[in-house]
């Protein structure tokens, strides 16, 4: 194993890329993918520390995160499909009904 700083650095970079994706992508699907990216960067960090400490606790947390990510994606994509059926577009800037 390489020194942990590389893995944590990679995780941080992936997280930042995910944040930028959430803030800057116009397509809702891309936003979801960025959210997945953020979750996976967290997974990477957890696994790195699990390996470093030779402990199983973090690995179990990873399972939780993956499961929840999958569930959340299911719900999110279902919502996205409903929105697309209404608006015929996934442009996130068109969803402004919370304005005011």
């Amino acid at each position: 194993m390489l020194p942990t700083i590389f893995y944590i650095g990679l995780s941080a970079v992936l997280f930042v890329i995910g944040v930028c994706g959430v803030l800057l992508r116009r397509s809702t699907l891309m936003v979801f993918m960025s959210i997945e990216l953020m979750l996976n960067s967290a997974n990477l960090a957890l696994v790195t520390f699990a390996n470093q400490r030779q402990s199983l606790d973090a690995q179990i947390m990873v399972f939780f995160v993956i499961t929840i990510a999958a569930a959340e994606v299911a719900v999110g994509l279902a919502l996205l499909v409903m929105i697309f059926m209404r608006k015929q577009t996934t442009n996130i800037d068109t969803m402004t009904t919370l304005k005011g």
Binding site: V19, V22, L24, I92, D93, M95, T96, L98, K99, G100
Partner: protein
């Protein structure tokens, strides 16, 4: 005793009830007028019954007193709502309720078609109530309540037509009403100060006391040598000081020298109001105050000296001003000022009975003159300028008759009422007070009175109607009976105090302790001379103004005498410039300051900066904040991010 005492409590209760009914329950012009008139008639009948009862009492204890409740108690000073009915009160109350009842009945026709009859009759009743409280109170504080009450009602009634822009050139009713009230108020400050001095030195405001506590009137004699130190200004006698302060109140209420400016403008109100308030009752409150507290004035010769000077000067100012007026009511207004000057001068000279006698007769014939002028105005469809009148003798014969009776009475022609009362005052000035100057001034005023009444009668009734478009008619209605009754009273009024028989003097003796003067041949000769002079002056006035030089007078024309007398005439017309001085010194700067406050301070500073400024700031701030809620999901996500960063940073860095 209690029965009779409750009787006098009823006297002011009737007008109060009329006021409350007219305000809260009664609607409709006829009902308003009837309720108001009935309440005053009831008050008059009650007053007569009370007077009969009073006459049945022994002379030494000829008074009825009742204390209704204790009003204020502060420390040792108690003021109670107490009523006092003695001979002086009796004559005042008879005048107030009697003339008041006639004027209410007259008003029913005069105010027909007015837009606010309920308000008019309600305030007229309130006025009678306040005036009765004034004359019937047993302490100075309650008197002050009545004093202020009549001032208030005067304001409300003068401004009855507050929505009219002007009723005569340069007179706006709402401004005239404010002027009356303010001038009154200036005088009231003096009365208040007098009350404060009395309370602080005597501990009571009650005139004659009750239940063993004596009133301040009896304490005045003991205090006649007490002085008050005014610091660097030296010492002034206590009683003198009280008297001087009261004079200020009298000057305001009774329209005397410095403060008479409100009375001519007060003619902006309806004519019955002028008759009641500014001829018979309110303006006489000052005379009543002096007579009621005459002990103070007897003990303070310097104060009563000033009273005489003020009274005599005002009599002259009023008379000279009345000669020059063209508005029929302004002549009578200045005439009232002049006659009040007579009464005040009489009171200053110590002739209290003569003052009250003149008060009573003047109330009768001045009310007659005002009501007559009201009938003229009514018949000429709201024309008040005498230059448009003339020849009304043919169109309004009844009014001509009663008005002439009033004019003769005012001029002091034998044997009408005014002769007896006015001559008693002038005779007193010549023989008892031995004051040549005052006698001459009063005599001159008397001659001018006859002159201007002759002038007025000529301009109004003689010759032909000058305004070709006028259609005068005589439609009297209920105005007939008050005019007749007052005319008869003006003729017979002198009977109450004929020399030798002097009923009024005997009646008022328990209160005023004055012995009637013996009637001498000198007095008779003096009186004859004055009557002849007055008759001559009146005839002169009538002849000059019914001669051809007045045939073509039109509104806007100058009086023919103006040409001969020059600017003195103008000075007389402006009331010797007193009003002009007040306008320049007080009113204009005050108005300028008020306009400045309104335009600059109020609109720009307060409205602009404080109100709109603070509202604007809040608005702009909320607009800025509202930009956060633009519905853009990405913005919300950014805000999430920032929040998370701050939170985590806080946890990691500083715990």
């Amino acid at each position: 005793m209690t029965q009779i005492a409750w009787l006098i409590a009823l006297i002011p209760a009737f007008p109060l009830a009329g006021f409350l009914l007219n305000v809260f329950l009664v609607r409709g012009e006829r009902a308003n007028g009837t309720v108001a008139s009935l309440s005053i008639v009831a008050a008059f009948i009650t007053t007569v019954i009370a007077v009969i009862n009073l006459a049945g009492l022994a002379v030494e204890s000829r008074y009825i007193a009742i204390t209704l409740w204790d009003w204020l108690s502060v420390g040792q000073v108690t003021v109670s709502f107490g009523l006092w009915f003695d001979p002086l009160t009796a004559v005042m109350a008879l005048l107030i309720t009697g003339v008041g009842a006639l004027i209410h009945i007259y008003s029913i026709t005069y105010m027909h078609g007015d837009s606010r009859p309920g308000r008019y009759f309600a305030y007229l009743n309130l006025f009678v109530f306040a005036m009765l409280i004034l004359v019937m109170s047993d302490n100075l504080f309650l008197l002050f309540l009545g004093w202020e009450g009549v001032g208030l009602c005067s304001f409300l009634l003068i401004g009855h037509w507050f929505d009219r822009k002007q009723v005569a050139p340069n007179i706006v009713p709402s401004e005239a009403a404010a002027k009356a009230f303010v001038a009154n108020r200036v005088g009231d400050a003096g009365l208040l100060l007098a009350m404060m001095v009395i309370v602080s030195h005597f501990g009571t405001l009650s005139f004659f006391g009750s239940d063993g506590i004596s009133g301040f009137v009896s304490k005045l004699t003991d205090a006649s040598f007490t002085t008050i130190s005014l610091g660097a200004l030296g010492n002034v006698g206590l009683v003198s000081g009280i008297a001087f302060l009261m004079i200020l109140g009298v000057v305001g209420k009774s329209a005397q020298l410095p403060l008479f400016v409100w009375l001519p403008d007060a003619m902006a109100g309806p004519t019955p109001v002028s008759a009641l308030i500014h001829a018979a009752t309110m303006v006489t409150a000052g005379v009543y105050l002096i007579v009621r507290t005459h002990v103070a004035f007897d003990l303070a010769p310097d104060a009563s000296g000033w009273v005489v000077i003020i009274g005599a000067t005002t009599a002259l100012i009023g008379a000279t001003a009345a000669v020059t007026q063209f508005d029929i009511k302004r002549v009578l207004a200045y005439s009232t000022i002049s006659q009040l000057g007579f009464m005040i001068a009489a009171a200053g000279m110590g002739a209290y009975t003569a003052a009250i006698f003149h008060l009573l007769t003047h109330g009768l014939f001045k009310a007659l003159l005002f009501l007559g002028s009201g009938a003229i105005i009514h018949g000429m469809h709201d024309v008040q300028d005498m230059r448009r009148m003339g020849g009304l003798r043919k169109h309004m014969p009844v009014i001509f008759l009663v008005y002439s009776v009033g004019a003769l009475a005012l001029s002091g022609i034998f044997p009408l009422a005014g002769f007896w009362s006015k001559d008693e005052i002038i005779t007193h000035a010549w023989f008892s007070a031995q004051n040549v100057n005052v006698t001459m001034v009063l005599l001159l005023s008397s001659l001018l009175t006859a002159f201007y009444m002759g002038r007025q009668v000529a301009l109004t009734f003689a010759g032909e109607v000058r305004d070709k478009d006028a259609h005068p008619h005589e439609a009297l209605g209920t105005m007939k009976w008050p005019l007749y009754i007052l005319a008869v009273a003006s003729v017979l009024g002198g009977l109450i105090n004929l020399p030798g028989v002097h009923w009024l003097n005997d009646w008022l003796n328990p209160v005023l302790h004055q012995e009637a003067e013996l009637f001498t041949l000198n007095m008779g000769i003096f009186a004859t001379v004055t009557v002849l002079l007055a008759a001559g002056a009146g005839y002169l006035g009538y002849r000059i103004y019914s001669s051809p030089i007045t045939e073509r007078l039109a509104p806007g024309d100058e009086d023919p005498a103006h040409y001969y007398l020059g600017d003195i005439w103008k000075g007389f017309e402006m009331g010797w410039g007193v009003d002009y001085v007040y306008q320049r010194i007080f009113v204009k700067p005050y108005r300028t300051f008020a306009t400045f406050l309104h335009d600059v301070f109020d609109q720009q500073a307060i409205d602009g900066i404080l109100v709109e400024g603070s509202a604007g700031m809040v608005g702009r701030f909320s607009q800025a904040v509202a930009r956060l809620q633009n519905g853009n999901v990405r913005t919300y996500a950014l805000v999430f991010l920032i929040g998370v960063v701050v939170l985590v940073g806080y946890i990691v860095i500083g715990v």
